[in-house]
Structure formats: structure tokens, C-alpha cells
Amino acid sequence: MATAPEIPAPPRRRPRPVSSGRLSAASGLGLGVGMLWLSLIVLLPIASIVVVALQSGFGPFREAVTDSEALDTIKLSVGAAVLVTVINAVLGTLVAWVLVRDSFPGKRIVEVIIDIPFALPTIVAGLVLISLYGPQSPFGIDLVGTRRGIFVALLFVTLPFVVRSVQPVLIDMERDVEEAAASLGASGFTIFRRIVLPTIAPAMLAGSALAFARALGEFGSVILISANLIGKTEVSSAYMLKLIEQNDTTGAAAVATLLLVVAVIVLVLLDSLQRLAARRD
């Protein structure tokens, strides 16, 4: 037995750059500008929502968020967002897979069509959906004023997120890895579960987070087809608009704060799942 070539290996599992605890001028400036920008664009508005929600004290806040109409809209919005996210996580991945792995006539066109929900003003999307699935539906399917109508609208606007996150990862994935698994005896399903899925899971979760966030706050595409029926198809964004129109800014901000908390919880959950998936199979 010959001695194998010894290549010095990294001494630790995850070598980190040596940190002196001080930043260079350039990275200090970068960090400063980045933080300032983030504060102005994101943190400041979020903070002001919370401030407005609590400006009349905790009592009115609790009253606003425990109002039964408010709770109904939040339940509907969160529930619909979760359901739509799960469906598009699966189907979006499937679409990405087909776009990357199969070649068929018209593929370039499909590539463009995928992005239309991104590009279309959402109120236009709402109009399109109502002409397809409204009282004058060419298919005889009338979804106006139903929760199914809301699902369809949300499925439409959130489709591209998962597709566009998963696609580049699939393109980068080397085919020989799957071939290696096949020659080791793994079936197609096993290869997908043990090799492909762990590779694309972080991208799927990242896309899902975006889709969820979008679905949670969606207004334009939903408002027409939902018909905004109180207690049935009224979503949180429409409810908040109504409160603002009634000059109840505090109530609107309170509902927004609650929605924000839900969003943060879900995003943190998805993020930790993503980290978990990125680490190990």
C-alpha cells in the first residue's frame, strides 16, 4: 500500500478570518451607510407604526386587536397566506424544475410569462381575475365573494417567488451528483429526497418567505374578487384601509402591528428552517 498524498487540511471545521475587533475605514463606512439606510427605509416606518398603535395607551390597542372583525381578517389573511405559500412552494419548485430540466417548444415564452405576476399592477391582476372568474366568466366559474377567489388571486401573485429562487440553484446543480447517486443504487425518488431536495431546500424556503410576505399584505389583486364581505372575505389590508377611511389611524396601526408580529414570527421560522436545511441532510 502506497502512502496516499497528504494535502494539509484546514485545521478547524469552520475557519474564521482572524478578527482584531476593529473595522477598516472602508468597511466601517460601508456598515454605517448600510445601517443608516436600513434605519431610514425600514426600521423608522416600522417603529412609527408601533408608536402610532400605542399612542393612546395599551387599552385601545388591545381593543383594536381583539375586535372580532379584526381577528377574522387576520385569521383569513394569515391562513390564506400560509396555504398559498405551501402550494406555491411545491408547484413553484415543479415549474422551476420543468424550466431547467426539460426542453420544449415555447420555453422562452414561458420564462417571460412566469414574471408577469411581478410586472402586472396588482389591480390589473384583480381585473383580469374577475373577468375570468367573475359573473361573466367564460368558464362559468364565479368566484367573486368567495375565499377560493382570494386563494386564486394570491396563488397568481406569489407564483414567481419560489420559481425564481429555485431556478438558479437547479441550474447550478451538477448532473453528475445525481448520476453518482443513481450508480450507487438510489431510485429517482431517493435521489430527489436525499440529494436534490437538501440542495434546493434553502432556496425553496427563501422563496416561500417572500411569497408569504407578499400574500399576507396583498391588496390590489384580492380586493375586487373578494368583494370584501365582512366576516367572510375581508382581508386585513382591506380592513386597515377601512379603518383609515374612518379616521381610526390607531386601530389600523394596531392591526398592522399584530400582522407585523405574525410576519416576523413566520419569517424567523422560515429562516431557521433554511439554516437547518443548509447545514445537513
Binding site: A4, P10, D176, V177, S183
Partner: protein, 321 residues
């Protein structure tokens, strides 16, 4: 015969990758598929592995008709040029993969994987991820992974192609030793003639989708079937209209039998060897000759000096016209 391939044709669109290829690979040997890139050698290997299917022809592995068997059912281990590591799994998990698929008991898997990691000198790296290994280490991991399921045939596609020269050379010796120890029928694809000559029991030269010649390394080097094989396996030069190896030309200080007069035009020293470029007086061909330093000193070679040339080894192929 361990692997028997007959009448294989394979096209990719208009490109003919393999043109009626037949080949017998004996059990327990280390065979090299050698040829320029795009010549069809990788396609042949992938057809044997079941990663590609032929348009016509058949493949038998250990007497079993395998032409249309999927790769899962061929008992073939495959090693890829770019390692094909399962990046999200540890070295241990990578090697264990095939055994886990076969639902072996945990203790058995553990024991077998550790044996293999010892064999490829990676036992202390079991818990690392592939990204924390060097290229040579990754390829040894890939080899252990392929060997874990005890394949009847081991196929390697340019296994050292992505490694630097030093590591390449070491792994080459190591593969030869490993093969002598395990004796599993092995085919490896390479475009490096030195690699093929050094490591293999038998070389199959493939070019333009056809097999040019099959034989032992020394046979191919000394008795090439045609100009292509001769040129591909080692250095050549032209003397008197014939292809000759530059170390098969003898330089004489004085006229001799069947010797051709020539003038030294240039001397280059490359390490231990000296290359003399010459021009023959008649015909004006410009061969070059490989000599040792001592030979060059004895002849007192320098540019402008007249010498006489003759071949010490009769060239077997004829004429670039």
C-alpha cells in the same frame, strides 16, 4: 470477459460519438481508454455505466445482458472528473450512501465505511464536509464511495483531470496499488498518454468514435498500428519521410552504414535530456533527436557540426506523405 461491448453506435444529433465500437475487457484488469477529447471515450464509459444508452449495439457485464439496465442495477462503481461529492453530507455519509440505500445494518455500515476511509487514508476526515477537503482528498472519497457497494466493475472518467500535476502523479501510483490490492475490474478514461502508459495493464486508443488499437502499453508504444497511435502515445519526428521516435535515432560522429548526413542546427537542454535539432543534407528534412547529456558530450555536439543519423528501432508505421 468482464465487460463485453459489441457494435455500439451513438450519435448526439449530427455528431457521431461512437461508430460501431466493440471491445472486450478481461476480469480483474486495469484498462485505460485513451484518446483526444471529443473522441468518444467518455461516452463509451458512460454507456457501460448505464448513464447513457447506445443507439444500437449491446453491453454485457459479467455475462449479464446490461444494454438497457438502468445504472442502479449494473453493479458498477463510477468516479467522476469533478468528484460529484454530495456536498451537504459528511465524508462518512457520502461513503455510507450506497450502503444505506441497500438498508444494511448500522453497525455493518459503520464498520465498512471506516475500513474504506482507512483504505483511502481519510479516516480522520470522516466528519468533515467535502468542501473542507482538497481536490485529491475529494477524489479519494469518491473512490471509497464507489467501492463501498462492492461493484463488479469500477469506472473512472478522467479521475485525475481536475487535479494539479503533483497530486495527479501521486494519485496515479496510488490507484495502481489500490487496484493490485482489490483486483476489481477497472476502466479509466484519460487523455494523458503518460498516465495510461504508466498505470494500465491494457490501453484502448479511441479517436473519432472508433477504436484505433488495443494492446499492452509497451506493445502500443513500440508497435503502433498507425500514425495516429504512434503520435498520440509519444514524441515523434520525421526522418527520411518516416515517423520515428526521437530517441530511436542514433547519432554517429563519422559516416556509417545506412546513415544519413545531417547538420546540427540547434541544441536545447531540458533537465537530463538534450534535444538536437538537425537538417539532413539530402532531402532537407528537419528531424529532432533526444539524447542523454553524456551522449551529447561524447559526440561533442554543437550547432553547425556534421553528424550521421540512423534509426536504431525500425519504424513500424509508414509515411506522412
Amino acid at each position: 470477459m468482464s465487460i463485453s461491448v459489441s457494435g455500439i453506435n451513438k450519435r448526439f444529433g449530427d455528431f457521431v460519438a461512437l461508430d460501431n465500437v466493440s471491445l472486450e475487457v478481461p476480469t480483474g484488469r486495469l484498462t485505460a481508454l485513451l484518446g483526444p477529447s471529443g473522441g468518444g471515450k467518455s461516452t463509451l464509459l458512460r454507456i457501460i455505466a448505464g448513464l447513457e444508452f447506445p443507439d444500437t449495439g449491446s453491453v454485457e457485464i459479467e455475462g449479464v445482458q446490461a444494454t438497457w439496465l438502468p445504472p442502479q442495477k449494473r453493479s458498477v462503481g463510477f468516479v467522476f472528473q469533478h468528484y460529484a461529492a454530495f456536498k451537504h453530507m459528511t465524508v462518512f455519509k457520502n461513503v455510507a450512501f450506497g450502503l444505506e440505500i441497500r438498508r444494511k445494518p448500522r453497525a455493518e455500515i459503520r464498520q465498512r465505511v471506516m475500513e474504506l476511509l482507512e483504505l483511502v487514508h481519510l479516516e480522520q476526515f470522516a466528519d468533515r464536509l467535502p468542501s473542507q477537503l482538497s481536490g485529491g482528498q475529494r477524489q479519494r472519497m469518491a473512490l471509497a464511495r464507489a467501492l463501498a457497494v462492492q461493484p463488479e466493475v469500477l469506472l473512472l472518467d478522467e479521475p485525475f483531470g481536475a487535479l494539479d500535476a503533483q497530486v495527479r502523479k501521486e494519485l496515479r501510483d496510488w490507484l495502481r496499488n489500490l487496484h493490485d490490492e482489490m483486483n476489481v475490474t477497472t476502466i479509466f478514461v484519460t487523455h494523458d498518454q503518460e498516465e495510461a502508459l504508466e498505470v494500465s495493464d491494457e490501453i484502448v486508443v479511441i479517436n473519432g468514435g472508433r477504436i484505433e488499437q488495443v494492446g499492452a502499453p509497451a506493445d502500443l508504444y513500440d508497435r503502433p498500428a498507425n500514425d495516429f497511435v504512434m503520435k498520440f502515445l509519444g514524441p515523434v519526428t520525421t526522418l527520411d519521410g518516416q515517423l520515428v521516435r526521437p530517441h530511436d535515432i542514433e547519432l554517429l560522429a563519422a559516416p556509417g552504414q545506412e546513415a544519413i548526413e545531417a547538420t546540427v542546427t540547434r541544441l536545447t537542454r531540458v533537465g537530463f535530456e538534450v534535444r538536437a535539432e538537425l537538417r539532413t543534407s539530402k532531402g532537407g528534412s528537419e528531424p529532432w533527436v533526444q539524447l542523454t547529456r553524456i551522449q551529447a558530450q561524447e559526440l561533442d555536439l554543437e550547432p553547425g557540426r556534421s553528424v550521421w543519423l540512423r534509426t536504431t528501432h525500425a519504424p513500424k508505421t509508414l509515411a506522412v506523405s
